[in-house]
C-alpha cells in the first residue's frame, strides 16, 4: 500500500538547527519510501508555522504527516488540531522529538543528525501503518457524590448544591457533622462548635438539591470524569425519616443498655438511640447487634452454642427472636419498621469529593503512655466528650469516680513526629491542647494543668495570639521536653505519676489525676477500602495523595475525583473547609451542564474471533473496563471506561487484544527502523 507522506522539519528558531544538519535531514527524508515531499520551517508551532502547514496540506494533499520538531508532550495536540482543520485525520500523524531528545542532549552535530535520521525513518514507517481514529464525545453529568458529612463534606455539598448541582452526600454514621460534632469549642476563637455547625447542617438538611444518605457506604464506583456510577449501600435504620418527629419516646422504653461509642464508651445508650442530644438528623436508629429482636451479638453466645451443637436450632431461634417491640409500641407516629432492610441504590454522577476525615493513632500500642491500662488516661477525642455539654459528664470536668481532678497533664505528639510511628506533625494538637487548658481554666480554675510539649506548632494569623493569651494562666505549667515519646506514666495509688526529661536535661517528676494524650491523626479506617473502590492512590502514611503538593492540592490521580479535609492529611477545620470549597470549585469548572466530554481515543479493542475467553485481561485491567460477553464467549472492552494503558494487550496470550495507535505492528516497525 502506497502512502503519500508529507514531512515537516522545524528549526525551532535555532534550538534544533544549531545541533542538527537540517539540509542533511531534508535529503535523507526525501529518499524514504512513501515520502512525497519534505518542507522546513523556522517555527512550526507559531501562527505562521501552523498556517504554513495547513495551506501546504491543502495544496500538496498528503494522506499522512510527520512533524520533526519538539516533544509530542508539548505540541502533539497543537498539530493534531491543525491537521484536523486541514482535513486530515489527526491520528494519521506522527511527531519526531528531535529537540528534547536529540538536539539538546547530543554532544556533536553529526552524531545528533544521525540519531535524528533513525527517528525520522521510524516515524515514516510507523505513520504509514496508522489508522484514522475518530474523536468521541459523551454527555457529562454535572451531579456530584460527596463522601463524608463532616465540615469538609458539608461545605463541598452546599457549595455545589447552591450552584444548582444535585449532590448525593453519603455518610456512614447516622448523624452528620463528623468529628466536630463531638467538640464543645473550637480553637483559636473558642467558638461554640455546635453554634458554628448548626446553621450549615440545617441549611444542608433542607437543601432541595442535596440527598443525604446516612448509615450508608459507597460499595462500588465505575466510570470516569463526567460519567461515574456509584453503588451505595443504605443500611437499614428501622426508623422512617419522614414519619419520625424525634420525640425520643422509643429509646426511653428500650430495655437494652450498652456503651455509647459516640462518647468513646464513656456513657451509655439504648439499642435504639441517637448518639447524642442534638444529633442531626434527629432520627434514632436500631443497633441490631444489641437489640433483643435482632440480637446479632446479644445472642452470639447462643449462636455459638448452636454452632457447637449445644442447643437446637429451635432453641437458638427462640432466644434470638424475642418479641420485644417496646420501641414500636412507644412510637405514636408509626415510624418504626422492623421489616426495614439494607438496600443498594445507584446514583449517576460526574464527579466525586472524598472527605472521609481522620481517625486517631491508637496510643495503647505505646505502653509508656498507660492508655488502656490506667483508667484516667484519655485520648484527645475522649477528652473532647468530657468537656462537651452533650457528653457523659454534661460538660463538667470529672473523672470516672465523678470527682474533679486536682491536676491534668496534657501530652503532645503521641505517635506524631516519631520515626517509629508517624513521622509527620499532626498539625492541630498544639492548638487543641491550648484549647483544653483554656477550657479547664474556665470550668475549673483551681485545677493545675501540665502541658508537656516538644515544639510549638501554631502557624496562621490568630494562633500565636491564642497561645500567648492562654499561656498567661497561673495554673498552667509548661514542660518542654525533647521527646514526649520518652515520657513514663504510671499508676500511683490514687494518682498518676509522670516523669520526663526536660530540655535542660533535668528529670521532671510530677503527678496528675488525669492524663490527656494528643495522638497522631491517621487516615480514617475506611480509607484503604475506599482507595480500592475509587482507584485513588494513598501515600506512605495512608492519606489520599494529592495530584500535586502545591499546584493540585485537592486533585487525585483519577480525573473527576477530589479530596478535601483530613482525608488528604492532618489539618484544622478552616483548612478542611477551604479545601472543600476548592474541590467544589474544581468540579464546577469541569462539569458544566450541557458540555460534552472528550473520550480517550487511544483505547484497547478485542478481536472477537481470536479471543480465547481466557479472561486474563479482565483481571488485569485497572479500570474494570473489560467484561465477559457470556453469550458470545468473548471478552469485550468498554471503550468508555478504557484509558488505553495497554496492559491487557501485552498480556493477551492469543493476541486478540489490540491497542489503538500503539499496535504491535506499529511498535515493531519503530524497533526495526531505529535499529537499522
Amino acid at each position: 500500500m502506497r502512502s503519500r507522506i508529507g514531512v515537516y522539519i522545524c528549526s525551532c528558531g535555532t534550538n534544533i538547527s544549531e545541533n542538527l544538519d537540517i539540509d542533511q535531514l531534508v535529503r535523507f527524508s526525501s529518499g524514504l519510501e512513501n515520502v512525497a515531499y519534505v518542507k522546513t520551517h523556522a517555527l512550526l508551532c507559531s501562527e505562521d508555522g501552523k498556517s504554513h502547514i495547513s495551506d501546504d496540506i491543502i495544496k500538496e494533499k498528503p494522506d499522512r504527516v510527520v512533524i520533526v520538531a519538539c516533544t509530542p508532550k508539548e505540541h502533539e495536540k497543537t498539530f493534531r488540531n491543525v491537521l484536523q482543520k486541514a482535513g486530515i485525520n489527526p491520528y494519521l500523524f506522527q511527531m519526531v522529538n528531535v529537540r528534547e531528545q536529540v538536539a539538546w542532549v547530543t554532544a556533536d552535530k553529526q552524531t545528533a543528525t544521525e540519531k535524528a535520521k533513525a527517528y525520522i525513518r521510524a516515524a515514516v514507517r510507523r505513520v504509514a501503518l496508522h489508522e484514522p481514529l475518530e474523536k468521541r464525545e459523551i454527555d457529562c453529568n454535572p451531579d456530584v457524590l460527596v463522601i463524608g458529612a463532616g465540615p469538609a463534606g458539608m461545605e463541598a455539598a452546599l457549595t455545589l448544591a447552591k450552584a444548582g448541582r444535585k449532590v448525593f452526600l453519603v455518610e456512614k454514621n447516622s448523624f452528620i457533622g463528623g468529628r466536630v460534632a463531638r467538640y464543645e469549642e473550637v480553637f483559636p476563637k473558642l467558638e461554640c462548635a455546635s453554634c458554628m455547625l448548626e446553621p450549615k447542617m440545617d441549611e444542608m438538611l433542607h437543601h432541595e438539591n442535596i440527598e443525604l444518605l446516612t448509615n450508608s457506604e459507597v460499595r462500588e464506583v465505575l466510570g470516569f470524569l463526567g460519567n461515574f456510577v456509584a453503588r451505595i449501600q443504605k443500611k437499614a435504620g428501622f426508623v422512617d425519616r419522614e414519619k419520625c418527629l424525634g420525640c425520643g419516646a422509643c429509646y426511653e422504653q428500650c430495655p437494652v443498655t450498652v456503651r455509647n461509642e459516640f462518647d468513646y464508651n464513656l456513657s451509655d445508650r439504648k439499642a435504639i438511640y441517637v448518639p447524642y442530644t442534638g444529633a442531626l438528623p434527629n432520627v434514632p436508629v436500631i443497633d441490631t447487634k444489641n437489640c433483643l429482636r435482632f440480637g446479632d451479638s446479644g445472642s452470639s453466645t447462643y449462636r455459638e452454642a448452636y454452632e457447637l451443637g449445644l442447643i437446637t436450632l429451635e432453641e437458638y431461634e427462640m432466644f434470638r427472636n424475642q418479641d420485644c417491640s417496646k420501641c414500636r409500641d412507644a412510637c405514636s407516629f408509626d415510624a418504626i419498621n422492623y421489616e426495614d432492610t439494607d438496600e443498594i441504590v445507584e446514583r449517576n454522577i460526574g464527579g466525586i469529593v472524598v472527605a472521609t476525615g481522620f481517625d486517631l493513632f491508637d496510643p495503647s500500642v505505646l505502653s509508656q503512655f498507660g492508655y488502656g491500662s490506667i483508667p484516667e488516661v484519655y485520648t484527645s477525642l475522649e477528652f473532647e466528650r468530657i468537656l462537651a455539654q452533650t457528653g457523659p459528664t454534661g460538660g463538667k470536668l470529672l473523672m470516672a469516680n465523678q470527682k474533679e481532678p486536682r491536676s491534668v497533664a496534657i501530652i503532645h505528639c503521641v505517635g506524631s513526629r516519631d520515626r517509629n510511628n508517624k513521622e509527620y506533625c499532626s498539625a492541630v494538637c498544639c492548638l487543641y491542647a491550648l484549647k483544653y487548658a483554656h477550657m479547664i481554666e474556665k470550668h475549673a480554675p483551681e485545677v493545675k494543668v501540665y502541658d508537656i510539649y516538644a515544639d510549638w506548632c501554631v502557624p496562621g494569623k490568630d494562633n500565636q495570639e491564642f497561645l500567648d493569651s492562654v499561656a498567661g494562666w497561673k495554673n498552667l505549667h509548661f514542660i518542654h521536653t525533647k521527646l514526649p515519646m520518652n515520657i513514663a506514666i504510671q499508676q500511683a495509688d490514687s494518682t498518676i505519676a509522670l516523669s520526663c526529661v526536660d530540655l535542660a536535661g533535668k528529670k521532671q517528676e510530677f503527678s496528675a489525676d488525669m492524663v490527656v494524650l494528643c495522638p497522631a491523626m491517621i487516615p480514617a479506617k475506611d480509607a484503604s477500602a475506599l482507595s480500592d473502590i475509587l482507584l485513588i492512590s494513598r501515600g506512605k502514611d495512608g492519606f489520599f495523595t494529592e495530584g500535586h503538593t502545591k499546584l493540585a492540592p485537592v486533585s487525585t490521580n483519577i480525573e473527576g475525583i477530589f479530596i478535601a479535609g483530613c482525608a488528604q492529611g492532618p489539618k484544622d477545620i478552616q483548612s478542611s473547609v477551604a479545601q472543600a470549597s476548592a474541590a467544589a470549585g474544581q468540579l464546577l469548572s469541569l462539569l458544566v451542564p450541557g458540555r460534552k466530554l472528550e473520550l480517550d481515543v487511544i483505547t484497547a479493542e478485542i478481536d472477537e474471533k481470536a479471543c480465547a475467553e481466557c479472561r486474563i485481561c479482565i483481571g488485569l485491567c485497572p479500570y474494570k473496563a473489560i467484561v465477559l460477553d457470556r453469550e458470545k464467549k468473548v471478552a469485550v472492552v468498554n471503550t468508555v471506561l478504557c484509558k488505553g494503558c495497554g496492559t491487557c494487550v501485552a498480556a493477551c496470550p492469543s493476541g486478540s487484544a489490540k491497542s489503538r495507535h500503539f499496535t504491535t505492528q506499529q511498535i515493531f516497525a519503530e524497533i526495526e527502523e531505529v535499529l537499522k
Binding site: 516533544t71 509530542p72 508532550k73 522529538n97 529537540r99 528534547e100 531528545q101 536529540v102 539538546w104 542532549v105 547530543t106 554532544a107 552524531t111 545528533a112 544521525e114 540519531k115 533513525a118 527517528y119 521510524a122 482507584l535 492512590s537 490521580n557 487511544i602 488485569l620 485497572p622 479500570y623 484509558k643 488505553g644 494503558c645 495497554g646 496492559t647 494487550v649 501485552a650 498480556a651 491497542s659 500503539f662 504491535t664 511498535i667 515493531f668 519503530e670 524497533i671 526495526e672 531505529v674 535499529l675
Partner: protein, 138 residues
Amino acid sequence: MKDFEPRIIGFLCNWCSYAGADAAGSARKIYPPNVKVIRVMCTGRIDPQFVLKAFQSGADGVLILGCHPGDCHYKEGNYNALRRFHLLRTMLAQFGIEKDRVRLDWVSASEAEKFVATVNDMVKKVKILGPLRKTAVA
C-alpha cells in the same frame, strides 16, 4: 572492541519517563546517543515480544523505564511490567541473553538526572558485555 557502540532500545512510558527524558533535554544534559527511545503509553503495554523483537532486530540491550511504583498514571501498569519483567529475564537466559542486557527502572517526570545516569550506566554495562551474539536469538 574499543569502538563498539551498543544499540539499545529504550521503551519509555508516556507519563513519567518520557517526560523525564524531555526534562533532561530542557536541562541540556548531554548523554550518549546509543539509546533509541520508543514511546508507549504505559510500561504495562510492553509485551515481552517487543523485547525479543528488539534483540532480533539487532539491539544489544533494552531499557524499560516507567513511573515509580505507586505513581503509575494507570494505577498499576508498572507492577504488571515488573511481574512480566522477571519472567522475561528468565526466558532470555534460556536464549543465552545476559540479564544485564535488559533493565527495568523507574524514572519520574522530574528525574532528569536519574534518566541520564540510567542511560549512561546502561550504555556502560552493555559496552562491557559487547555485541549480542547473533546466534543467541536466531
